[in-house]
């Protein structure tokens, strides 16, 4: 039941969610843009990749571009960046819950467009047998290890990129504008332009992650990109710690592994209905417990950017000094 290959698959999925959660953290954790459109952007990148790499006229789609992987992959990233730009233009006029609901609406529009444009996307049937890197060179089940290595490598790259963004002056300004937009403006920061660029950058990275998700699931259909997908990424980020640097990936591993483990509980077959009903309940309980004991998540923004408390305590009392005005 619990073969290593199974767990390698679980970890691969967890790292994909983790990469997306780290990207979400740049937008939402540091940028304060509560984006509920991750699934829509991922769908854009995944479908773009799937469609341009179709090389079998037998599928009955309008186009049979047959692009090679090296061209389709970066093109998918750029295309997703363009989609993000189109979403950002109206959405960034709004804040907080209004931004959230608008990005969610766009994600749903994208999903329904995919269903409707069946000449291009094969609608609800979806596209199967998507080509994978190094496929055929490694046989059968061992491919899971290859894919895990590829995804792990990509996760490290996403981690390094997001860490660099977060610790740069740009990342600092992003957090500053999240804390106090009016003050950032009064200091000459082009807050809207910065947020637009952030949203588009996030889109490009999500588009680059999308083919990995395709390699993992092999066949796509619109139902994969329902809002539940985005909520899972959000849950992972919240468990891991919004605003931290590595929280997204840590939260995703904890959440996905726990969810899969619950599914493995052995029960009498006649009680399988109970298990199915109880699974989301267990995940919910787990989430509550994590947040009860670590309300800021497994990792925290304070730790990621602040200075060790000990150092502060030894140097100065935290209240006004004799020199200050109060």
């Amino acid at each position: 039941m619990t073969s290593p290959v199974f767990w390698i698959g679980v970890l691969t999925l967890a790292l994909i969610y983790g990469s997306l959660a780290m990207v979400l953290n740049v937008e939402s954790g540091w940028g304060g843009m509560w984006d509920l459109g991750t699934a829509g952007l991922l769908a854009s990148g995944a479908y773009f990749y799937a469609i341009v790499t179709i090389d079998d006229p037998g599928l009955g789609t309008t186009f049979v571009p047959g692009w090679p992987m090296w061209l389709a992959w970066p093109a998918a990233a750029l295309f997703t960046g363009v989609v993000a730009f189109v979403i950002a233009i109206p959405a960034l006029r709004l804040r907080r819950e209004y931004f959230l609901i608008t990005t969610l609406a766009f994600a749903e529009i994208i999903r329904h467009l995919i269903v409707i444009q069946s000449d291009l996307t094969r609608g609800t049937t979806g596209i199967a047998n998507i080509g994978r890197p190094l496929d055929g060179m490694v046989s059968g089940r061992n491919y899971n290890y290859v894919l895990f290595a590829i995804v792990a490598f990509a996760t490290v790259i996403v981690y390094l990129i997001t860490r660099r963004l977060g610790t740069s002056p740009y990342g600092r300004t992003l957090r500053a504008a999240r804390d106090n937009e009016a003050l950032a403006l009064a200091l000459g920061k082009r807050v809207n332009r910065m947020r637009l660029l952030t949203f588009v950058t996030a889109g490009v990275i999500i588009g680059a992650i999308a083919p990995l998700y395709l390699f993992f699931i092999r066949a796509i259909s619109p139902s994969l990109f329902a809002p539940g997908f985005t909520f899972t990424v959000w849950t992972a980020l919240i468990i891991g710690g919004m605003g931290s640097i590595r929280g997204g990936v840590a939260g995703a591993v904890v959440l996905i592994v726990f969810t899969e483990a619950v599914g493995l509980i052995e029960l009498d077959p006649s009680r399988i209905n109970i298990l199915i009903a109880i699974e989301p309940f267990m995940v919910g309980l787990f989430l509550i417990l994590v947040l009860r004991f670590r309300p800021e998540g497994l990792f925290t923004e304070r730790k990621a950017f602040g200075v060790p408390r000990a150092k502060v305590d030894s140097s100065a009392a935290p209240t006004a000094t004799a020199d200050s005005l109060s």
Binding site: P169, A182, L187, R190, R193, V312
Partner: protein, 256 residues
Amino acid sequence: MELVLDSVSKTFGGIVAVDNVSASMPHDKITALIGPNGAGKTTLFNTITGFDPPDRGSITFDGKQINGLAPWRVAELGLIRTFQTPVGFTTLTVWESMLCAATPHAVETPIQALIGRKGRASEREAETRAAGIVEELGLTELVDLRTDELSSGDRKLLEFARQLMAEPRLLLLDEPAAAVAPTNIGRLSQLIRRLRDERGLGSLIIDHNLSFLMEIADAVYVLDHGRVIAFGPPDEIAADPEVKRIYLGEQEGDQT
């Protein structure tokens, strides 16, 4: 170089918050803006700094028209304002806030952030300047604290320090003496005066503490119901019967 307002008006719904205000504030002088609550002082700040663009009239700084410009563009020209309540960048440390306020002219793009080297020249330059300002204002001990961990007086100081990082050519201070302990107001006056005398950096100041303002101001504008009702040197304003009636008279009325 001066900030010039020419017949500026701002209306909210049916209420005229700023009514045909004309004024000129030299960049190297301390100008006070006084008036009872609701006189339109903060609204005037908002219209100058682009947060609430005026409905009519023109605002120029250094001969350049600034009404209609976005707030960040006004700030880029060197008009750096503070806010009545010094909330600050709540989760940033004092040091991060200082660095963030630097180089208002170049907000990095994500691409620049990715290819930029650690400890790049612009960042090093900002650190040097921040260290100087922090030292000058006596904030050195507090640099590692988060803004929301500071006392309100220290937050006020940080606000001052941060706005100085943004390379202002004229400061717009909204109630700098509020929440400052009376015994330390002298230090504040000294600081504002020193900026004017040593760096030629003037201020436009709103405050309710009249003795503090009258002591440091080179010129005073009195605002009432959105209109300028008096203008002149502090001693002249203090003696103006109209000002006494409207401004000070109301204060007496409040107390009874």
